[in-house]
Amino acid sequence: MKYSVKEMSLPISKQRFKHIWNGFLSDKLAVLSLVIFIFYCVVALAAPLIAPFDPYDPQFMDLENSEIPPYWISGDDRFLLGTDAQGRDLLSTILYGTRLSLSIGLLAVIIQAGLGIFIGLTAGYAGGKLDNFFMRCADIQLSFSTMMIAIVFLAIFQTLFGSDYYQQLAMLMLILVIGLAEWPLFARTIRASVLAEKQKEYVDAARIMGIGPMRIMFKHILPNTMSPLLVIFTIQIANAIVAEAALSFLGLGMPVSEPSLGSLISIGFSYVFSGAWWICIIPSATLILLILVMNLLGDWLRDHLNPKIYKD
């Protein structure tokens, strides 16, 4: 016998993925969450196609149609979920709002992750003074709450450049502020994983081969730290959406003309007690459901990607 082919246990490539996928399918709640989440994504992507009206078009703002209750109350089949105070179709604004919220969340987290991964990898791999410096920066950053930084920063920006200019740049500013404020979370997680991975012999083996630090960091170590990153990524998108909603609610977010879910809730909030409850409640429910399923997915990922539970 030259080769020990028959030594091989089952030919089970991607066994781990299959294992996790099977576990996923047997968890009803996780499947339901994923289905809802995908539904949100599809709806957000296809908003311009499926929305009955374009909420950004001032033509469709007709004050005559303002504050019409949802279809099942008013019987008005033009506006399924009713209209807001400006006479915009609530269903369309929610669709567009979801789209905005999701993209702000996603983009902000991409910035967070990019920055955090780079800093975390460098700090963890280089160690020493650089590590100390970055981690103290992270400590300082974390000692301010995200909301505080965002509020101060956005308020200053608004007073400096005026609210008209601000409204044009609102989305970009929100992404930047939320993205820059929470990198330490990524950086710390990845640094912890890097410190653990760095001890392993395969990193030494790569160093002995003469492979450079950049390649070791990104090609050898980074793929082995992906599981915790994926978990934070999911949960952070939810957090970013909430942050955006909160800022919009406080009047520092998306302008009224281009409402995100948060600004919709904010606008609707003043009508809750005047009887037009749907303007606030329906977007709120949309937002809450979105955050809930994302957190459920994140929790599920955390439980199942944990290498301590699943050993190869």
């Binding site: 082919v5 030494d204 081969m209 003469g210």
Partner: protein, 337 residues
């Protein structure tokens, strides 16, 4: 065997700082503020020559610095003092770029086959990376061919190259590890306890493979182990280490026939042998010392039955004996043992 030195270590020392935050290092002493660092003395002046084509075994207990020795030779850790020469070139003071020339000549096999292969890379990726990294001129086909050859040379079917490490058994992983070390055609391989994590029957497979490769390619091994039965079988020469120092260096036969240093004697008497259990293991007295602070005198004196006042003060030097072994022991020197 011609005696041409391949690697020479002279006065190699390695100290590690115990990591603590700088605030804890600050001491206030008589009104003066000073920084005090705690250090571990892993290597305390090691002199060793590795001859071309030989297998030199380094034995010793946990914490005697044998793994550190491997790491400093390969440049994974810098030296605190001393020099390392590869053939005629000094290599301990090189930067990464200059060292690259020597990366192809010196490779390592690791202890833990589960951690020494990147779990997210297939065997093909693991093996092809060094091949194409050190031979950028090779075409894709040439790299594929070389990887297949490598796998065959360690008795693994090239068909298995798209599998991930966790799908292999410990012995197979260790063979992949050997294939990776061989991928750059080195002259010198450091093997750090390559058998420790393997089962007996698999140990034999790996040991045979290593011996075959040595014959085929004329490799030089530095074999680090705690298993003396493996040493006896595998090596030409043995260096016995204790607390960061080499205390006895001898040909394998000489060492096993007439161990001189009291520590070597204790070590040999403790081997669990199948055939002869009449030898009563020599019991070492005293606690195993920790390498925190550099000990005065002989490193072994706290546990040595032959220690006298001289051993507590004066550090013994390596002295060549009649039968070509070298021993660092006052008692041997004075003829007390």
């Amino acid at each position: 065997m011609k005696n041409t030195p391949l690697i020479q270590l002279s006065g190699v020392e390695k100290r590690f700082d115990i990591e603590q935050s700088w605030l804890n290092e600050v001491r206030i002493n008589k009104g003066k503020i000073s920084r005090k660092k705690e250090q571990v003395h892993a290597l305390n002046g090691v002199n060793l020559t590795i001859q071309k084509g030989e297998s030199l075994c380094v034995v010793g207990e946990t914490g005697c610095g044998k793994s550190t020795l491997a790491r400093v030779i390969l440049g994974l850790n810098s030296l605190s003092a001393g020099q390392i020469h590869y053939q005629d070139q000094r290599i301990d003071n090189l930067n990464e770029r200059q060292r690259m020339l020597f990366r192809r000549s010196m490779q390592m096999i690791f202890q833990n086959p589960y951690a020494s292969l990147n779990p997210r890379m297939t065997i093909y990726q693991t093996l092809s990376e060094p091949v194409s990294f050190h031979n950028p001129q090779l075409s894709q086909d040439d790299v594929d061919y070389k990887v297949a050859k490598l796998m065959e040379s360690v008795d693994l079917s090239p068909d298995l190259s798209d599998y991930y490490p966790h799908e292999f058994s410990g012995g197979q992983r260790q063979r992949i590890s050997i294939a990776r070390a061989l991928s750059v055609d080195p002259d010198f391989i450091v093997a750090d306890e390559p058998l420790a994590a393997l089962d007996v029957s698999v140990q034999a497979q790996v040991l045979n493979l290593m011996m075959d490769k040595q014959e085929e390619r004329g490799l030089t091994y530095l074999f680090i182990t705690h298993d003396l039965t493996v040493v006896e079988h595998f090596s030409n020469r043995v260096a016995v280490m204790y607390l960061g120092k080499v205390c006895e260096l001898a040909d394998t036969k000489t060492l096993f026939k007439s161990p001189k240093h009291p520590y070597t004697q204790a070590l040999l008497s403790a081997i669990p042998r199948l055939d002869n259990n009449s030898i009563q293991p020599i019991r070492l007295v005293g606690e195993v010392p920790t390498p925190f602070n550099k000990p005065q005198g002989c490193v072994f004196q706290a546990r040595c039955a032959h220690a006298n006042d001289r051993c507590k003060i004066e550090e013994p030097k390596m002295v060549l004996q009649g039968d070509t072994s070298s021993v660092a022991c006052h008692a041997v020197e004075e003829g007390r043992i």
